[in-house]
Symmetry: C2
Subunit: 548 residues, 2 copies
């Protein structure tokens, strides 16, 4: 991994991203001035020496293998944090937290051995799958000190080399993988056999399957395929106090579902060493469509009615007016834009909300499902923008993080956050979050036209949905870290006050941990602590996430 392309940035985009003139004007008008701010090179980043002795590291090498451990500075830097805005800011020069060594297990046995040694030498172990956490879930951040609470060092445990296929069962329609496998690697194995997992989070290009499970991730086609936690048939978890093999059958009433204790446990209880997921046959037909609704209210009502009527869709996504305007500005300019705007006016949906819907299955299924969808959408004055708009979204579905790199290069703060709530609370939630972010960011930057805040409904359920919010603002040059910390804090506070969840699919990590008790109560936090005490009495497992 090169620092410039893959550590300080999300990566090299498949197609170069150029901000069109219309987009620059839009940003100037809505956010503020652009200040070209090329990323710092590797030499600007200081990586401290490892605090773990060679003697201890050689014990890990004896137990696992010589090549399983490294203290190489670049490797440590690459495996010590995720991809939140502040993680990237840190790796662009604000002294990132860096693990003392990276260890690469290749088997369950390696994990058992490394946990035993880590406990023996009181080393914190921080898991690193794809490293795509945006909530500090894989940040090498634990107290290293000579206090009795402190650790003697931090090990990043990377699953890059524990990433093989275990097996495919196309009768049961399951696949079993090791935790480090990525989504693209899995689809490359499944697709030629006519199979798919159907899980496509925006982090898909980098994220690991173990990470899906550890964070309860949700993919863009969740409406058709469900969340990751619904896809997981069984899993093996190694903790410092024993192994768990959970999920013998597709449905069971054999007590509490202990899989759900480990799914979403973010490495705080144990490391997942094997995962069996349900898979599907690749659909014969996939059809995307763009739809414009006249107002946010009409679009919300249409989405709610569609989902509650059990109409099958795969992708179901609704941008609010702010995001719709932004996307249209980015997508079209010049005469095309004029023509489009005219069309939207004629159809009475100008200033409205853009929805993306996809249907999958046999051609009969797609035809029937699309027809049922339009029965609902017509009632709410939805207007088709055709397949092209849908296909365009599909084509650019992973582009967000690359675009963020480009906007950060222009001196902008760009971050996302997400939550979920029931239908009747959706507009209240959105208003509160927008207000909190606006107030916080304006306070530090009163002369800027921004922040620019926009959102989409990213995952839809019978009873509600997830709100995915993007914030773009001028950076406060004298305190870029504090600027976002304060804004994020204000947004989290607004979310809990609205009675919504602190996270729909990004997980808790270190960043949301202070708000967990607001959601599950002190009793809930105490219960998590007691579970952790049972399986990780020394508290070495990813300390700082969830409850520690």
């Amino acid at each position: 991994m090169s620092f410039d392309d893959q550590i300080a940035r999300w990566g090299v985009p498949p197609e170069p991203i150029k901000l069109k003139a219309g987009m620059v004007a839009f940003l100037n008008e809505r956010v503020g001035k652009l200040h070209p701010s090329p990323q710092a090179g590797r030499t600007n980043v200081e990586v401290p020496d490892s605090r773990i002795s060679e003697g201890v590291l050689s014990e890990f090498q004896s137990a696992l293998s010589a090549e399983s451990v490294t203290t190489d500075a670049d490797a440590r830097l690459a495996h010590s944090g995720g991809f939140s805005y502040l993680d990237i800011v840190a790796r662009r020069g604000v002294e990132p937290k860096v693990a003392d060594a990276v260890i690469f297990p290749t088997s369950k046995e390696d994990v058992v051995k490394l946990l035993a040694l880590a406990e023996q030498y009181r080393l914190a172990v921080v898991p690193f799958g794809g490293g795509t956490s945006v909530v500090g879930g894989v940040r090498a951040d634990a107290e290293v000190s000579e206090n009795s609470d402190g650790f003697n060092g931090i090990l990043a445990v990377a699953f890059d080399k524990f990433a093989d296929l275990v097996g495919i069962n196309d009768v049961d329609m399951t696949v079993t993988v090791q935790p480090g496998m990525t989504g693209p690697a899995l689809e490359r194995l499944l697709n030629p056999r006519g199979l798919t997992l159907g899980h496509f989070p925006q982090s898909w290009e980098r994220a690991s399957i173990g990470g899906y499970a550890a964070t309860r991730s949700s993919g863009q086609a969740s409406s058709g395929y469900g969340r990751s936690n619904e896809m997981i048939e069984s899993l093996t978890v190694v903790t410092p106090r024993g192994e768990f093999h959970l999920g013998v059958a597709p449905g069971t009433a054999a007590g509490p579902d202990l899989r759900q204790v480990f799914i979403g446990s973010e490495g705080a209880f144990g490391f997942i060493t094997s995962i069996t997921l349900r898979i599907r046959r690749l659909p014969e037909v996939t059809r995307y469509e763009g739809i414009m609704f006249p107002t946010y209210e009409s679009a919300l009502a249409a989405f709610r009615e569609l989902k509650q009527a059990q109409v099958k869709t795969a992708v179901l996504r609704l941008s609010d007016p702010q995001e719709t305007a932004t996307n249209l500005t980015m997508a079209v300019e010049g005469r095309t834009a004029t023509a489009l705007n005219k069309y939207l006016e004629v159809r009475k949906v100008a200033g409205g909300c853009l929805a993306i819907v996809s249907w999958e299955g046999t051609s009969a299924q797609v035809k029937a499902d699309r027809s049922q969808t339009w029965t609902v959408f017509k009632k709410h004055r939805g207007v088709s923008l055709g397949r092209k708009v849908g296909d365009g979204w599909e084509h650019a579905r992973y582009s967000g993080p690359y675009l963020r790199d480009v906007l950060m290069d222009q001196g902008l703060l760009v971050e996302t956050l997400e939550t979920a709530t029931r239908w009747s609370n959706m507009e209240n939630l959105r208003n509160r979050v927008y207000q909190a972010l606006t107030d916080s960011l304006r306070a530090g930057n009163p002369d800027a036209p921004g922040p620019h805040i926009m959102s989409h409904l990213s995952h839809v359920y019978d009873t509600g949905g997830s709100l995915y919010v993007t914030v773009v603002a001028e950076v406060e040059a004298d305190d870029p870290v504090g600027q976002w910390e304060r804004a994020k804090q204000a947004a989290c506070q607004a979310i809990v006050e609205a009675g919504a969840t602190i996270t729909h699919h990004h997980a808790v990590g270190r960043d949301h941990a202070p708000f967990l008790a607001e959601e599950i109560g002190e009793s809930g936090v105490e219960l998590l602590r007691s579970i952790k005490a049972q399986v990780d009495p020394a508290g070495i497992m990813n300390p700082g996430v969830l409850v520690s």
Copy 2:
């Protein structure tokens, strides 16, 4: 509740059940001789005196209300066990275990107070919702003794008077209820508003919503509506060490899903005091159909392909050849039977497997879903038996437990058990369970033609399904209890050896508890113990179920 009609029996059937001559002949041929054995009357059942002092009981009365506590023998008998075969045998005269008092909380506050008093006086508390457990989940069975481990008495905590509607939200499509409400009571509230929960377990007429949650129950329309655990949006649980309010949003990644720790916890951790479930609109159209497949293999393949193709159905149920033959014998006789058999032969499905399928929704949805279903079924040589057969099943969907009463009156052992596994293991599982039951029951009764064993696939998933087995045998008069205990033990052993779940929807209770470690491992059992120690350190909550 009268003893004769509702305590020693499931109840008075809506229509009298008469065994037709053909059925009697069938039983004689497949099971053995019928011995009319009318149930014992109330006077044959001895109810021991309460072991809890009046002074202690009056403290409960002071804290709750005077009418909240009773030691009436009939009330204690009615609230001290479930409806397994052995529970009924016990209440027909083999000294049932009886709680020392019944307590009727009416609010969350009552539950908080009664748990504090129970802990103070070291009384075991056994929950009683609808009392339909068939696995000893509500049996008043805990060690009462002066040992340090022993309790001073057993309280049955009945939720009959804590059974109100809290609220309906038809925007979010949720309903909130108190734990004691039954399914019929809920549907009577929802249906006039055009709403339904859609959860119809065979125990529906008696079971409580709190019981659904406590046992992870599954209804007959699970293919369309999901399991109870999938319907539960949020719940409140009172434990001896704090309250839990879980489930703020329809999707969340805020750590492990702690709802799933309490769902299926069978009263061993706490008592559920409020449940919010997702609901649906009543379908415009519901269409049932009976389908005959030529062989078990072809039918299994059809069901598997249907589910994996994401075709929507509500009920999806497949009888094996033994159950199909039994059902046809019960349903038709004389000339109708001859004509039917002729038709089945002509259509090449004689001796085959009967499936029941239903579709729900708008007429367009039902039409599309049924058409997609038949695209699959035709490939596997399914033959429609028309709506009448489907409607007939629907009409008799709750008749099983009444029929059991009638067969028990004829001196027969009748019991059911269930499990689940993935598709590739289904036939192995079925063979092993049948063999184990046959061997065990033949050993004690070598001259009988039985046992008669039959099953159906009762709940179907992408990756597998649930096998619901019915056993009918001559009673071993000298040891009726041991006879079934040995057979059940053999079946459980076969299930765990086949790698299937010890229970798909009946829960663990006291009867399956010895097998739980086979399914979730010693680590899993230890984790459950540590959770129990956290929330119920005195161990008063339904001792004996799950892990204690």
